[in-house]
């Protein structure tokens, strides 16, 4: 019998099954709150500005960006890696915690998966527009063509990346969607509104909850969970080869794949924390997202933050130990003390030091502090990607090639646009989709009973 003293009850307030479904679905039936419209308006205007900047990028060209011959990868790639990192939490939550049989994941995995889908969608836009002529996008597909057929280079990390990201988007979106099917059926069967009934009936794909369906549903989750576990590690490893396969000082290191994967899990979990503290406050979900849930994520973040700190130290150590003057220059002159020292130290403080505050229970218990630290971590992770991309590219082997990089207003607008796109997606998710996996929460709710209570029911 599952009996844990480490954590409080998974769901507070001795809820009946009916209460669980009603309380989670409540935001879908309730009147839309005013703050939601205000937030949507802000998100849509950010999104709109982003669209305008994309229009300028496509109609005028990449020249509207701040990138130059030396720093050919600017904000576009920084933000691409940043978003992909955030998009990692979905699979990390759903799969890793599923494999580890962590039952507390049930109230968080839906939101984490939603975040993944939107974040990966945002990430995909950057390389697409960085191509300069995005209408030629289909050239990256290996399709029979009239140019030979000249196939794509299967040895190129950029092609691996294209395969990895598009596969990741498709897989996480379908995993997310099929997890929601039973919950859509619950909405269909409990709502009184005819329109909602028709809409959710369509999306429920005719789900009834019969044993035949559950049997296959469980097999499907098992297969997808098992196979997607590889993706948690593979996607960001492949993203890191975009850098590690290049012969640029600071990039050409073997630490990159694990370093990127851990960084991705770090920023992903931080973003999940941001999201669930918002959910808990805005929708009063404290019975489902308990203090102990927040606590668990904070503890994971301490651990991951220590790995991040170790990675930063290792990077510096290897730069010195390699004896390679270019690596040493990049690490000790360009980053630690030179032009990019602010970004470097911001990264160290935000990612390796500030999260250590989570050691204190007083910090973990204060939701607003947790919320602020989760934002700080994501800013820190953004600086990390900035360091990787810009610090290495700006000063490589030939001083004659050195250049500095400043983003243009168009690049900034593009990034703000994806922030708006992401928050629009999250707001729609809050409003129209059950924020937590209702059927899974019902499934674990019986673990909340004491052994005596269960025995009593079995009698």
């Amino acid at each position: 019998m599952y009996n844990s003293n480490v954590r409080d009850k998974l769901i507070q307030g001795n809820k009946s099954l009916k209460q669980i479904s009603q309380e989670i679905i409540a935001p879908i039936h309730a009147k839309t709150p005013t703050w939601w419209y205000i937030a949507l308006l802000i998100s849509l205007s950010m999104f709109g500005w982003g669209l305008y900047c994309k229009y300028i990028t496509i109609s005028t060209g990449i020249g509207t960006w701040g990138v130059n011959n030396t720093v050919a990868w600017g904000w576009a790639i920084i933000n691409f890696v940043w978003w992909i990192g955030i998009g990692h939490a979905g699979t990390a939550f759903s799969i890793f915690l599923l494999v580890l049989r962590q039952k507390w994941r049930t109230s968080i995995n839906r939101a984490a998966e939603a975040m993944t889908v939107f974040a990966v969608g945002c990430a995909g836009l950057f390389p697409l527009l960085h191509m300069g002529r995005p209408w030629m996008f289909f050239f990256v597909f290996p399709y029979p063509n009239t140019r030979g057929p000249l196939w794509v280079n299967f040895n190129s990390p950029l092609f691996w990346d294209f395969v990895a990201i598009s596969a990741y988007l498709l897989i996480s979106a379908s995993f997310w969607y099929f997890g929601m099917v039973p919950d859509f059926a619950t909405i269909r069967d409990t709502t009184k509104s005819k329109i909602k009934k028709a809409v959710y009936a369509f999306f429920a794909f005719g789900w009834t909850g019969s044993s035949k369906e559950w049997l296959r549903f469980e097999a499907l989750s098992f297969v997808l969970g098992g196979i997607a576990a590889v993706l948690v590690v593979s996607v960001h490893s492949i993203v890191s080869t975009d850098f590690a396969a290049g012969v640029i000082p600071g990039w050409h290191t073997t630490i990159f794949p694990p370093f990127f994967v851990v960084g991705a899990i770090f920023s992903g979990f931080a973003m999940v924390l941001t999201l669930i503290t918002l959910m808990r406050k805005l929708y009063k979900m404290q019975d489902f997202i308990t203090d102990s849930h927040v606590d668990a994520i904070c503890r994971i973040l301490i651990f991951v933050s220590l790995i991040m700190g170790t990675s930063y130290l290792t990077e510096a150590f290897i730069a010195w130990y390699s004896g390679n003057e270019y690596d040493m220059f990049k690490m000790f002159h360009n980053q630690m003390t030179g032009d990019y020292s602010f970004e470097y130290w911001a990264m160290i403080v935000f990612n390796a030091l500030i999260p250590q505050l989570f050691w204190f229970k007083a910090v973990r218990r204060r939701l607003w502090v947790v919320f602020i630290i989760s934002i700080i971590i994501n800013v820190g992770m953004w600086y990390e990607r900035f360091n990787i991309v810009v610090a290495s590219l700006s000063k490589d082997y030939l001083p004659a090639n050195w250049a500095s990089y400043h983003p243009s207003i168009i690049e900034i607008g593009f990034f703000i646009g994806t922030l708006g796109m992401f928050s629009t997606g999250i707001l729609l998710f809050f409003r129209y989709i059950p924020m937590m996996a209702v059927s899974e929460i019902k499934g674990v709710s019986k673990y909340d009973m004491s052994v005596e209570e269960q025995e009593e029911l079995k009698m």
Binding site: F175, G206, S210
Partner: protein
Amino acid sequence: MVGVFDNEFDLIKAFDQVKAKGLKIDEVYTPYPIHYILEGMGKKTHMTHAAFFFGVFGALSVLGFMFYASVISWPLVFGGKPFNAFPSFMVVTIVATILVVTIMTLFTFSIRAKIFPGKTAKIVRPEATDDKFVLVLKSDEPGFDKAEIEKLLKNNGASDVSF
């Protein structure tokens, strides 16, 4: 005959007793999967085996395609590597295989569980997706004593029994 239960423990008790009587259970509808019932219904799914074969099929076809494209169709030297640069083909093979398995398993699920867009659900009790556990029996089976079974279900905590 439809028996409605309020919790899974009552359902499991009734489920066992009906089975002990040698009657066939037509279907069980529950708000979440109950593994005891899934096993007790005696049905097996071969989706996991199917997924394995999808994986083998995916890996071979992806690898085969890359071999065809870079060795047979249009050989090109990239970075001094051999045409059949097997180690660097593995990356795409792994990821594309996962994609093939996912998509094909989803279709298999959709076909086998009959869950697809545009399907109208045949709902026995709408509460079954909310908080009730529904046991459906075939009352036209030989040796089916309506009164007796109704009593059995009620004794085990069925909140509602109907035909």
